[in-house]
Structures are given as structure tokens and as C-alpha cells.
């Protein structure tokens, strides 16, 4: 376990950043996934999409230089890169649902060994709504779930999601502070583990069945 929350998030964000390839169009969800942008390597040009109507989203503006007309999907002022474009919501989701977004990175409440994802509602408790998440998960070419491995010690990687789904069988990869899992037809394959954990620890913190190949690599971040 990585009790330090900040370190956990940093590990996840760094590892996800390594999945992004030069020239890709990427949508980062609110919260933890947003941190990924901070760890993209120099020389790797990633184009960020914001589903409220922009590609080429840039970093946060300097204090006092905020432009009220340029915000991200969280309603927060951002900037746009010189190669960026603004458009309306129907174009934004044409890009998303039409397979033009290469990678989407989202958080999860639960994810399971069939690639199902639940991240938009806890009935009777928290009903934020799905926003653009359902379209992103269905439409993006690659779906990466970026989340802490457990929630209050309880597994979030399950045999079968119990919460209402965001999408069925669309997740391709799960990155936590402990490991990298690939979703395959046969189930979840453990690809990498963090240097300070063990396969046994990961198994103990995961409800889903894990396929453990012979050579599980140490997460390189």
C-alpha cells in the first residue's frame, strides 16, 4: 500500500502520462486524470480535448490573466494553444463518439474484470450525473481508468461492478498506484507492479481475478 495519497496520485499520473504518444488527441477527466498533463515528457506533443468545446487546451492561465470565455469542462479558466480550435458541443461529441479521440483517462468508483466501468452515480447518495463520461468511454479509441487501488481500504477492482455502469466492456487499461492492468478477452492481466508492492499485496487488495503472466515488470515511471 502507498499510504501517502499525494504520492499515490503522482505515481498514477506519471504512469498514465507514459501511455500517451506524440500527436495523440487526449481527454483527461476531472480530478486525478487532470494531473497527467503535468508529467508528459518534453518533446511529446499531446493535444488535449475539453468536451465543453476545445482541442489544444493549454495550461492554467497566470493569476490575473484568466479569460472568462475560455474554460475547461470543470468550469475553470484555462488557456488554448496556438494550434487549438473552439467549437460547439455537437462538434465536440462528434469528435468523442466518432472515434477521433485517441485516449480518454477517467477516474472510477468501480471497474471490473469485464472492462465495465462505474463512475457516475451512487444511487441514493451521490448523483452527479454522467456528463460526457458515457460518450467518452464508448467513443475514445483507448480508455484508461486512473484511480487509487482501493477506497477506504475496500477494493474498487471487482469481479462485477455493483454500481450502475457508465459503459459496458469499454475499459482497456487500469492504472493504480500499485499496478497496471490490461483488460483482455480472458480477463485482467497484471502487466506491471509498483516497486514497493508485491503481487500478493495486489491480490489481497483486488476482488477481481487477476491473470499473472510469468514476467510482471516493475512500473517504470
Amino acid at each position: 500500500m502507498i499510504p501517502n495519497q499525494e504520492l499515490a496520485k503522482e505515481i498514477i499520473a506519471k504512469r498514465v502520462a507514459k501511455e500517451l504518444k506524440d500527436g495523440q488527441l487526449v481527454n483527461l477527466g476531472i480530478g486525478l486524470p487532470t494531473l497527467v498533463a503535468n508529467y508528459v515528457k518534453e518533446g511529446v506533443n499531446i493535444i488535449f480535448q475539453s468536451e465543453n468545446g476545445m482541442v489544444g487546451m493549454g495550461p492554467a492561465p497566470e493569476k490575473g490573466k484568466e479569460d472568462k470565455d475560455i474554460t475547461n469542462a470543470g468550469g475553470v479558466p484555462v488557456t488554448i494553444m496556438p494550434y487549438g480550435a473552439f467549437f460547439d458541443s455537437s462538434m465536440s461529441f462528434a469528435l468523442i463518439r466518432g472515434g477521433h479521440v485517441d485516449v480518454t483517462v477517467l477516474g472510477a468508483l468501480e471497474v471490473d474484470q469485464e472492462g465495465n466501468l462505474a463512475n457516475w452515480i451512487i444511487p441514493g447518495k451521490m448523483v452527479p450525473g454522467m456528463g460526457g463520461a458515457m460518450d467518452l468511454v464508448v467513443g475514445a479509441k483507448k480508455v484508461i481508468v486512473a484511480m487509487q487501488h482501493t477506497s477506504k481500504g475496500q477494493p474498487k477492482i471487482l469481479k462485477k461492478c455493483r454500481l450502475p455502469l457508465t459503459a459496458k466492456g469499454e475499459v482497456n487499461m487500469i492504472v493504480t498506484e500499485l499496478c497496471v492492468l490490461e483488460v483482455t478477452d480472458k480477463g485482467l492481466v497484471l502487466k506491471e507492479i509498483y516497486k514497493d508492492t508485491t503481487i500478493d499485496e495486489i491480490k489481497s487488495l483486488t476482488e477481481a481475478d487477476l491473470i499473472i503472466p510469468e514476467n510482471v515488470k516493475i512500473m517504470d515511471i
Binding site: M54, G75, S90, G129, D135, P164, A167
Partner: protein
């Protein structure tokens, strides 16, 4: 050809029980002066179709807090705790719709389409009560059109005929809802004379607009 009117002029258009579409994404691109007007008029039992219910102190959020809304059709309510509270108390009906589906339903309503087939929501509770159609071996949900009595739009630069240019990410739902309502009102940050906007910049053609009012900057 001049559609610019004093805000007094449009007051009689609003009635209790109406369906309104309102532009904006978490209040970016929302016509705040028109929201002020709705609060002033205190029209009740509104159905609001929009991306979200904003924050309690901004845009659509203010109508929620002021108890004027009977139902919302939106993709997200998480930034306005009051929406969730009223929903849990049974005082506000909330229909959640995936964002991409919501904007397509509005576009369909405004462009004479009977519906669209989307893969979004298949295998989730979003599919409940909807027709499923298989095309080339893949399942799609048949999503139906949405329309409103009035669309409230925020434009950055608007000419007197109603041609509207949206700056930055203020565009979002605005040009699509302009297609899907019986009456379209644009709140203009800047009003210019006819001919001052390039015809390529009229993201909403003025022919769709009924009234232009001057908003704040």
C-alpha cells in the same frame, strides 16, 4: 431588420410551466441578464433543458435555488448541491442524459430529425425504456428529439439582425439550442451594426433569432 429590443419588451413572453433551453457550460456562455429577468418575473414550474445546473450562485443554478424549476433535462448536476437536495426531497424532477446524446437530441429537435441512434448508454440504466436497434451487429439506442418554447442564448458579438459570434468556449450548447425553440432570444455582450460581422462569423444565423437584448460585459 433590427431585432434589438429593451428587456421590458420580452417580459410578456415568459409564462409559468414553460420549457426553456438555456446555453452555457457551468455558466460559461450563459445569459446572466436573462436569468436575472426570469428571477425578477419569478415564473414558476419551468422545465429547463441545458448541459448542467451550474453552481448555486451562477446561471441556471440561481433558478434552481430560487425554486422556479419543476424539471431539468441535463447531463450533470454535481456542481450544484441544491439540485441534488431538491431532487432527493421530491421537489425537482431530474432527467439525466449523456452530454453527447443530449446535444444530439436537441439538434434532432431543431433540424427535423425523428431521432438518432447512439451507442452511448448501451448496457447502462440510460437504455431503460428506449428502443434498441442493431446496425451491422452493434447495438444502438434510439434517442428522441427535444424542443423548447424559448431558447436563451449568450452571444459575444451580435449584430442587430441577430447574427451571433461566440468567443472561446462560450459556444457550447448555444448554437444548437438556437435551432430547437419556437422563440430565440440572444443576450449580446456586444451589439454591432448589420454588416460589421463577417458572414462566416455568424455561427448562429440571424434568421433564427427573434430578439436581441444587451447584456453585461
Amino acid at each position: 431588420m433590427n431585432k434589438v429590443v429593451d428587456i421590458e419588451k420580452i417580459k410578456p413572453l415568459f409564462k409559468n410551466g414553460m420549457t426553456l433551453m438555456i446555453g452555457g457550460f457551468l455558466a460559461c456562455g450563459t445569459p446572466e441578464k436573462l436569468i436575472d429577468l426570469l428571477i425578477n418575473l419569478n415564473v414558476k414550474d419551468l422545465t429547463i433543458i441545458a448541459n448542467d445546473t451550474s453552481f448555486p450562485d451562477k446561471g441556471i443554478g440561481r433558478l434552481i435555488v430560487n425554486g422556479q424549476v419543476k424539471k431539468v433535462i441535463v447531463s450533470h448536476i454535481g456542481t450544484n448541491p441544491e439540485t441534488g437536495r431538491l431532487m432527493n426531497e421530491g421537489k425537482l424532477e431530474v432527467e439525466l442524459c449523456p452530454q453527447g446524446t443530449l446535444i444530439e437530441r436537441i439538434r434532432a429537435g431543431g433540424s427535423g430529425l425523428g431521432g438518432v441512434l447512439t451507442p452511448t448508454g448501451v448496457g447502462t440504466i440510460v437504455e431503460e425504456g428506449k428502443q434498441k436497434i442493431v446496425i451491422n451487429g452493434r447495438e444502438y439506442l434510439l434517442e428522441l428529439p427535444l424542443r423548447a418554447d424559448i431558447a436563451l442564448i449568450k452571444g459575444s458579438i451580435v449584430d442587430e439582425f441577430g447574427n451571433t459570434f461566440y468567443r472561446g468556449t462560450t459556444r457550447n450548447f448555444n448554437p444548437i439550442i438556437a435551432l430547437a425553440a419556437d422563440t430565440v432570444i440572444v443576450e449580446a455582450e456586444n451589439i454591432v451594426k448589420i454588416g460589421e460581422l463577417r458572414p462566416e462569423d455568424a455561427m448562429t444565423p440571424g434568421v433564427l433569432v427573434d430578439y436581441v437584448i444587451k447584456g453585461g460585459e
